[in-house]
């Protein structure tokens, strides 16, 4: 676990390791319906940021444009 903490991996993945340590018999009982590959995942994450940034940027722009 100490090693895991130093490898910049997601904290959620470390938590999954802890689950397996506590209960070695536990298997996830449901798998994601759709799991993006590495590059697609990066893209979809940035789409999420873009949606949020677009909304924020539009509103900030409107507010500053006001006389």
């Amino acid at each position: 676990m100490i090693f895991a903490l130093l490898s910049w991996i997601g904290a959620d993945e470390i938590a999954q390791e802890v689950i397996k340590e506590i209960n070695p018999n536990f298997e996830p009982w449901f798998n994601p319906i759709f799991e993006p590959t590495g590059e697609l995942e990066g893209f979809l994450f940035s789409v999420q940021v873009a949606i949020g940034a677009l909304i924020l940027g539009y509103i900030i722009g409107r507010l500053h444009g006001r006389p």
Binding site: I9, P28, E41
Partner: protein, 214 residues
């Protein structure tokens, strides 16, 4: 963070769905009845925009692992926990369906932590510190973020107690907290600075604009 797909036993998935559903219904009703004027609509958009941006930022933390902020601070300060639950649910659904981050089975539990209980603590802090608004927003955002992960740890501990007694739940909770909390505290502080900045730029301006138009 978010509890990954399939990582909560079915009975706990059901429990957290049942816990979260009334908040979502109440929140949706509140949005319908209360968000009627233009300023409120824009503020709601700012809130969800902030959650979208922040909850997608996987940031490395000083502990050497990655995690991401929750972004629920602004929403809860402006609209309270019920509406925040609805906004969080939208983002969590996006992440569960498209990113395999979180999951459909664990959606109820993740809404409970990120959308309801975490923000609820932030909301209380905001109520207490309301006099100085900047500090209140800062504190509320940080508390909502950290408490989200505390709740996640407890949710996991309830489902995976180290032993079958109460002590076993505590022991597990501390182990999960050790993973999440240390990573999360620096991220929560960073998130709070961002929330205050957005609040200053957008919310104050909007509220001022509303007054001058009236």
């Amino acid at each position: 963070m978010h509890i990954a797909e399939g990582f909560l036993p079915p009975q706990w998935c059901a429990f957290w769905y049942i816990f979260s559903t009334p908040f979502l219904i109440y929140g949706a009703m509140k949005i319908k009845s209360k968000i009627t004027n233009r300023t409120d609509k824009v503020l709601l958009a700012v809130s969800i925009g902030f959650i979208f941006v922040l909850s997608a930022m996987k940031m490395p933390s000083v502990t050497g692992s990655c995690s991401h902020p929750t972004g629920t601070g602004i929403a809860v300060v402006l609209f309270g926990p019920a509406i925040t639950a609805v906004l969080s649910a939208i983002v969590l659904l996006y992440q569960a369906l498209l990113l395999a981050h979180g999951g459909i089975t664990t959606l109820g539990a993740n809404i409970a932590s990120m959308g309801i209980i975490g923000p609820f603590f932030g909301w209380i802090v905001y109520r207490i510190a309301k006099k100085n608004r900047k500090i209140a927003v800062f504190a509320a955002t940080a508390v909502a973020d950290v408490m989200t992960y505390v709740v996640t740890s407890i949710q996991l501990a309830l489902a995976f107690p180290a032993t079958q007694e109460i002590g076993g739940i505590m022991e597990s909770a501390i182990r999960f907290l050790a993973v999440f909390a240390i990573t999360q505290i620096p991220i929560a502080i960073l998130e709070s600075f961002l929330a205050v900045a957005v609040f200053d730029q957008v919310v104050k301006r909007l509220e001022a604009g509303e007054v001058s138009r009236a």
